[in-house]
Symmetry: C2
């Protein structure tokens, strides 16, 4: 849980400079001296064993000043996603402790799941919140990546904004062939040489550590037993196949054999809002004679993305995150803490 | 702006007891000892003169510990709504100072506007946030009401949960005949006797002070020049005429003679969500051959109400205020402040 001391010295999402309460003021402006707040959304290759999940969560939550805001486990993906937030130091420490814990408890040689993965802690993205810079998150990724390599003896790949090779910017590229490919070829294939750590993998596999903008992990389930249809829909909507801007997508099975899933990462909902993603999935599925069942969020979404959905649905003239009571209270609470 | 000192001693929306980060934990439970946080949403009878609006906002914002989160002025209604939040003491002081300022600057004898009103400061509702009790807000209303009567020499009517007569619970009843009726009859008509203050009105009129649950002030504009249609739609959807539960509604003109407005107060969106209100207004308007133009929010809305709209629009399996990053951060930030 965030502590007062840490928040006072470190926490501020945005600054509300408007003492006169004018919402058109500098509520989103940010002060140059604002202390940093970051998010980390590590993914672990365990989605069913509660004792393992609890141990990893407890390791992250053991750090004073780091708030574990959410966890989301999926047994079919055999994967868990944590959302951690706070000042950079405590969040980095929490991410490291969780990674160390996962390395002890997860064995990739026996891990099976629908979701591609390269390690026990598969991916550790740092995300700037509010006025925090991407550069700070890149530096954090490098620092935590080095430490994971040095102290846990794991191969580490820098990805996203922290990538040092262009072919490592995108996770799907980095993860091609998964853990099994690394196990066979990491020692001999130069393109697989990690940025930090040994040129060999143990049962904890390797970890991708990086920095990225906030993204929304958003899934839509389809009433079909045909994985091919979910994959075709995913292909039709994702940017890399000529679909929607800022959308990554992939088809997956679910626990129900009669239900398939289009799993997306929305990396910029100001370019492609959730409503458009949902509508396009619905249309593409309908072209295959398949109905959409429901939407699902993995982890948390920024208020703005959900408010955008409401704005479109009810034809609001103007509605944004600043229209939400809790967002305004947060700005003031963090402004208060930062004084 | 909220100060650290005040927030530490007074501010907590909810407590997140879940150190393990489990969202199914006690994030909404609240500790018995949680300090109170309240909202006050005073309405003033001035919607166009910027110097008057600014003066009232400045008066409210001059109180250390009270955060003016939002202001919303409407020239046609000739009315302004402020949203103030913080611990009870500072919020009460801010409401009083704003009321005192409005009494000096607004003359009801010359005030004209579409919205019914009885005073320069027309209504001062106190609203419990998070675990704060309604009883605390009732006590606050009585305290502030007494002070407005004593120090500003204004008639004060207690309304809503603070009402001492059943016929004063609802504002539309209390406001019937408006300022002009009070001016003529307050001295002679026993039913108009105020709860506090003189049995006469000056140019600042009278003020209704009360306590209520959070409500959403939500308007929908119609593409018609016929006020009668907006009124008919309002009548069809409001609870008091047999319409939707927990919905108050009224038809109004707007600045554009070709556009009319259905103005609603949604007093419990868990009973009647915004989406249903919008759909019913659309249907009723369509029955008159009129199209809906857009939705508008007056002031702020709680995250839950807007997330509910998104949940329905995109068929989410489960989505609530706890799915929003900012809401979770707020819980932790206020938990930190409260330690």
């Amino acid at each position: 849980m965030l502590s007062l001391r840490v928040m006072v010295s470190g926490g501020s999402v945005t600054q509300d400079g408007g003492d006169n309460g004018d919402r058109r003021g500098s509520a989103r402006g940010g002060r140059a001296a604002a202390a940093a707040l970051v998010e980390c959304v590590p993914n672990f290759s365990e989605g069913s064993r509660p004792e393992v999940i609890d141990a990893i969560v407890a390791a992250a939550a053991s750090v004073h000043g780091a708030a574990v805001l959410d966890r989301h486990a999926d047994a079919v993906h055999n994967r868990m996603v944590l959302t951690i937030a706070g000042p950079p130091g405590p969040v980095a420490e929490a991410a490291f402790r969780a990674t160390a814990c996962a390395a002890q408890l997860i064995d990739l040689d026996v891990h099976r799941g629908e979701h591609p993965r390269i390690g026990a802690t598969d991916v550790v993205p740092f995300v700037p919140l509010g006025a925090t810079s991407m550069q700070l998150c890149v530096e954090l990724a490098v620092r935590v990546g080095r430490r994971i390599a040095a102290e846990l003896d794991l191969p580490v790949y820098l990805y996203g904004e922290a990538a040092r090779r262009p072919e490592r910017r995108r996770l799907p590229d980095l993860r091609r062939g998964e853990y099994e490919r690394l196990r066979s070829y990491i020692a001999v294939e130069p393109s697989l040489a990690p940025d930090f750590g040994p040129h060999r993998v143990g049962r904890a596999g390797a970890t991708a550590v990086g920095a990225r903008r906030p993204l929304i992990a958003y899934n839509v389930t389809l009433a079909t037993a045909d994985l091919g249809i979910a994959r075709a829909v995913a292909r039709a909507i994702r940017e890399s196949s000529g679909g929607l801007e800022a959308v990554q997508a992939r088809g997956f099975r679910t626990a129900d054999p009669g239900v398939m899933q289009v799993s997306t990462n929305l990396v910029d909902t100001s370019r492609t809002p959730m409503t458009l993603v949902f509508e396009r999935i619905r249309q593409e599925a309908a072209d295959h004679g398949v109905e959409v069942l429901q939407s699902e969020l993995v982890g948390l979404a920024p208020a703005q993305a959900l408010v955008d959905v409401a704005r479109q649905a009810l034809q609001f003239d103007r509605l944004d995150a600043d229209s939400v009571l809790e967002t305004r209270l947060l700005q003031h609470a963090l402004g208060a803490l930062d004084q």
